[in-house]
Every structure is written in C-alpha cells, then in structure tokens.
Subunit: 365 residues, 2 copies
C-alpha cells in the first residue's frame, strides 16, 4: 500500500492506494468520530463490495443507503434518500458518511456530508478509475440541475480516501477507458515525464496490471494534489485541470447525461483543445499526434459526436462554470506538460475549431 | 448609520445599521463582482421594499426571484426556484445574491449562494428584528427537512449585512416580539449590563423608538459576533447562543413550523432553561423572575404549549443538532450574563423541568 497526503493545512487528508485494502479497519478507524457510520453506495457496487466494507466497520452502528446507479440520478430526489436515511436512524453531527462507488456516489455523498447538519465527516472509497484519479482529490462535491451539470454543490474535503485497485477488475472496459482519459490529461497539462511513462505502459494499464495501476493512480493523484494545493477554491491555476472539459461538458449536455461517459467526452474535448492549441501555433502537429495516439490506445473516442454543430457547443459552453461574464475561457496547451487558461483568442478560431473535421484530422494517428 | 465588523479573518464582513439605508448604492457597490445581481425576496416583503433595493442597484442586470412567504416554504422545492432563476438568466460564478426579507429568506438565499456553482457572494438585507439580530451574524444557512429543522445547510458568510431599522415599522407586532426574545437572550447569556439596559428601555423598543432599536440591534450583533468569532463552526462556546433553543425547537417541531414563531418558542424554551438552572442551584429565583418579567414586557409567551408532554419534548430533542451521541446537551445559566453547555445533570431533573407547571411558576412575575 502507498499513502500520499493532500496538503490543505487543517483539512489535509491521506489517500491510501493498494490492492485489497477495502477490508482494512485500520484505514477507517482513525477518521470515525462516533459509533454511527453511514455507508452510501449504489445498486451496482453494493452487491460487489458492500460486505467487505461492512467487515471493516464491525462494531459500528451502520446505516446502509443504496442509491440507483447512474449520472441520471445525480439529482436532488436521490440526494434526499441520503438525508432521509440519516435522519431516520438519528445520525447526529459526529456521524461519518462513507462513499462506496464511482464519481456520482462520491460527489453526492460528499455534498450530503457538506450539507447534513451543516457538515459531517466523510470517507471516499472510489471504485472506478475515473473517481480514483479525479474526484478523490479536490473536494468538489455536488449534484446536477436540469439546466447544467454540477451546478449545485460545495467544496468539501474528505477525511480520507481509500483506493482499492482490485475493484477495477469488475469495472466495465468502457469505464476503465474513461478513467484513462483523465490519467492522460495529467500528463498533458503538467507532467511530460508521466506522459512518456504512459506511452510505454498503456498496454499494462489496459491489462489491469496491478503495479502499473498503482503507479498511474498515485502519479495522477499527486499531479492533481499539487495543482489543488495551490488553488483550493478554483480561482486560478486549478482551472487547468479542466483541459478538454469545457468542450466535453458541452458534449455530455448535448447528448444527455450518461450517453457519453464523462471521460469519453473529455477525450474528444481534449483533442479539440489540442487542435486549437496547435492552430494558435503553441504546440506542434507531432504533439497532437502523440496525444491522439495515446487516447486511441486507451480505447477512447477522439472525435466529437457526429452531427453536433458549433452552435450546439456554444449554447452549452456559455453557461459553463468556466465562463466569466460571458467570455468563454478555455484550457489550452503551451507545450506538452504545460497548460494555461485563456479567453484571449480570435473568436473565429474557436468557431473553426468547433467545425473542424476531426475524422480526417485523427485518422492517421 | 453605525457599522460594526464581524471579524473572521479573510471572511470578515461589515454590518451597517441605520434608518433608510436600504437605498444606499454605496453600501452594495463594493461587494458586487459583476454586473449580474439576483435579488431574492418573498411575496410579503417584495411589494414593500424591492423597489428601493432596485434603485440602489441601478446599472446592474437584475434577476428578481420572489419566493412564497413562510417557514413552510423553507424547503427544497422553494430553494430550487432560486437555482432556476439564476440558471435561466445565466448567472456565473461572479454573481451576487441579495437576500431581502426575514430569516427564512436569508437562510435560503445564503444556502443557495453557498451551493450555486459551489459558492457565490451574497449580501443580507434582513427586514425583521429576529433576522437582524440573529441570522445577520454567524453564517448559518440552510433549509428544513420533514424530519427536522435546519437539517440541511452550510456555514457560509455574507459579504455584507445592511440593516435598515425603518423596515421594522411594517413588521407585525408578534414578529417584533419574537425578535426581542433573541435580544433578551444576548443579555442573559453574555451581557448582564445589556440586560439592565433592556429592562430600562423595553417600552422604547415596543414603541419602535429608532435610537433604542439601533442600540439594541448593535449590541445584539456585537454580542453574537464576539461569540461566533471565537467558534465559527460551533464546536464549543458558540452553542451558548442556543439558550432556550433545544426546548424551543421541540416546541416548533411539535406544533408544526410557523404556528409558534421561532422567537416565541425560544422565549418559552428560555423560561424552561432558566427554571432548570435555578433547580440546579445555579441562579436565584429572583434572576428567573427578572427574565420572565422582561419576556412578558416584550409580549412573549413564557409557558410551553398546553398539552405538550415530556415525551413530546424528548422525542424532538434527541435528534436536535446539539445532541451528541444521544446525550442531550443543554444551554443553562450559571448566573445572569454567563451561560454554559452541559449534558451533566440528573435525568430526573430534566424530566421534572419538562413537566413543571409553568402557568403557576410564571404567574407572579
């Protein structure tokens, strides 16, 4: 097992990464404040792993709250199921919520913890690659609104994150790929050396080779933790973590939540952001080619949805949280391993990027 | 106009108190981050004061969100009206929410600001005495759950509070009295000198004498600010602000939200807490008599609802946020001007206090 610390002064917390650590009571114990604990999971993950977490929490009074699975349920009525469960079992301010599942479970449980009695503790046990490398670090929690993704939420840090790499053996291949989109992103935005490592080890990751998984997850969490430590509330540098996300959120919203996985939309969005960076003369054709090849190796889409028009993108991008006073700010690359956030580009260039022929552009990579 | 500062490091903010200051653009301007501003009010207050706030915000793009009035609407569907209004008008992270109304409007708008895009700015313009002396300081925001009051919320500080004492001229007398319950509370828990001032000036306050109102509001906010500055997240001393509230919340819940006003329930609850303090030998009969007489002078109930049994109290008190691991913690007085929080008392004494004959006990005061 490896442990890294996300350094946020009095809100610092450990991330433990290893195979089979889900059942280890010693990883949970130090973070529980009372006998009452609530495990929040979903209908897919609970049958696979709930029993093991239950074992780790023997001696505690457990409330188990099983939510329906999927981004479509990242909404208020489902969040309410958590509050109902806590209140029915009379959990007070010293309770701890444990999120067992993917990003949706983590975001909702974290937001429930942020709001329940104005804030109780929570522990993340992410069971998808995406949530392990993305939502374990950064404290973003929340739910969707019919008019936009993640529009209602809070910045709220967990007491600990417990990442059991063995849970990835039951993850559908498409979701593994979606997680790899974020892993590749860290290489692109802030760690050129890690990008080289990924080019050499993508086959190992596809095969779920345990050592490679641990290494990739640790380096991804470290990269994100470095960025978040500098800018906890996303006022500046942290926005670089959204490479591909402004385009990607537009794709997710246009296609309806859940039809394109978040990581898939980010992958196609990353290609668009890289194409734009190349058109601005910042990165080379070769850099774009490397990134596209790596995304393809990870079995990710590199082309936006057929038929999605520039106007469709713009409509969704204008309400994106990264828009400031109507200006669309984008994360672009200055070079491999170095990103920046800017709204200073010709509008015509964005229009051209939204209309480019990505089938042709990516065919040869 | 008087201004005091609530000292919370980088979250410090000013409270302005004066007659007619609602229309002063200079009090709003420094706290707005973009042209977009949303005013949240309710169907009772908007017809009286919205136009004046609108004048103070000339030159801004205003979204006006008018909620139904009353504690019964301090719920999720009503909160959702705020999010809907913000998203329809495409407010981004730099927007500012202005809460124009009483405690419910302030709590809901503050919670909406805490959650919208994970946090935007808000300004409180409280128009009831209760909200002016209570919710303007402390950063408590939230909504109710069918199983308990204020169960879902956040600690979130405003950018500024603007208290226009002239708004109290349109406040129903019962609500003025409810506000006075909290004013009296500050004297009891931490300012014996202020309690003496109140005994001398209660008639002026009942008559809405402007200088007396400003003085009482300022001293109440100062008292609360002192306590909150020591303990922003209510881990210790801050709990003394809940004198009468544990009993009071039980009364409110039992009677149904809104049938007893919050301040009325707190007044009766305060008498119970003082009776208990006296039974423990901490305060004199004379101290109880003074407090009861002052509450009566403020036209507040000093007796719990007829027919409400000890079992009814206990059922609601056990899920109160001040319960820790099932122990019911109470705020009691050691002497006038000095409160403490304790769960260390004979259970039989609490039972006796819940069953005492308050009609007889308070008749002579």
């Amino acid at each position: 097992m490896r442990t890294l610390t996300v350094d946020l002064a009095e809100r610092s917390y450990p991330i433990h990464i290893g195979a089979g650590i889900l059942e280890n009571p010693e990883l949970f114990g130090p973070h529980l404040q009372s006998r009452k604990v609530a495990i929040v999971s979903n209908t897919t993950v609970a049958p696979l792993y709930l029993e093991r977490v239950r074992n780790a929490l023997r001696g505690h009074e457990l409330t188990e709250i099983i939510l329906p699975d999927g981004e479509a349920y990242k909404d208020w009525p489902t969040l309410q199921m958590i509050f109902d469960g806590l209140l029915k079992d009379r959990h007070d301010r010293k309770t701890t919520l444990i999120a067992l599942g993917g990003g949706v479970t983590g975001d909702m449980t974290g937001f429930a913890a942020a709001c329940y009695q104005r804030g109780v503790g929570f522990i993340q046990v992410p069971t998808t690659l995406l949530s392990q490398v993305d939502s374990s670090v950064g404290g973003k929690t929340g739910i969707n609104h019919p008019l936009g993704k993640n529009m209602i939420g809070a910045f709220y840090q967990p007491k600990a994150v417990i990442i059991d790499t063995a849970t990835l053996t039951t993850l559908p291949p498409r979701e593994l790929a979606a997680g790899l989109a974020e892993v590749i992103k860290y290489g692109l935005i802030c760690d050129a050396d890690f990008l080289g490592w990924l080019e050499r080890h993508m086959q190992d990751l596809n095969r779920l080779e345990p050592e490679a998984l641990t290494e990739a997850i640790e380096r991804s969490c470290q990269a994100k933790a470095r960025v978040v430590a500098e800018d906890e509330r996303e006022s500046g540098i942290r926005a670089i973590l959204n490479l591909g996300h402004t385009f990607g959120h537009a794709i997710e919203t246009e296609m309806g939540y859940g039809n394109w996985l978040h990581g898939e939309a980010v992958a196609a969005g990353t290609v668009m952001a890289l194409h734009m960076s190349q058109q601005l003369g910042w990165i080379t054709d070769e850099a774009v080619r490397r990134a596209v090849a790596l995304l393809k190796q990870a079995k990710l889409p590199v082309v936006p949805p057929a038929g999605m028009q520039a106007a469709d993108f713009l409509r969704h991008m204008a309400v994106d949280k990264k828009a400031l006073d109507g200006q669309i700010r984008l994360v672009l690359l200055e070079r491999i391993g170095e990103a920046l956030v800017t709204a200073d580009y010709p509008a015509a260039l964005l229009a051209a990027v939204l209309q480019a022929d990505y089938e042709t552009l990516t065919a040869a990579c």
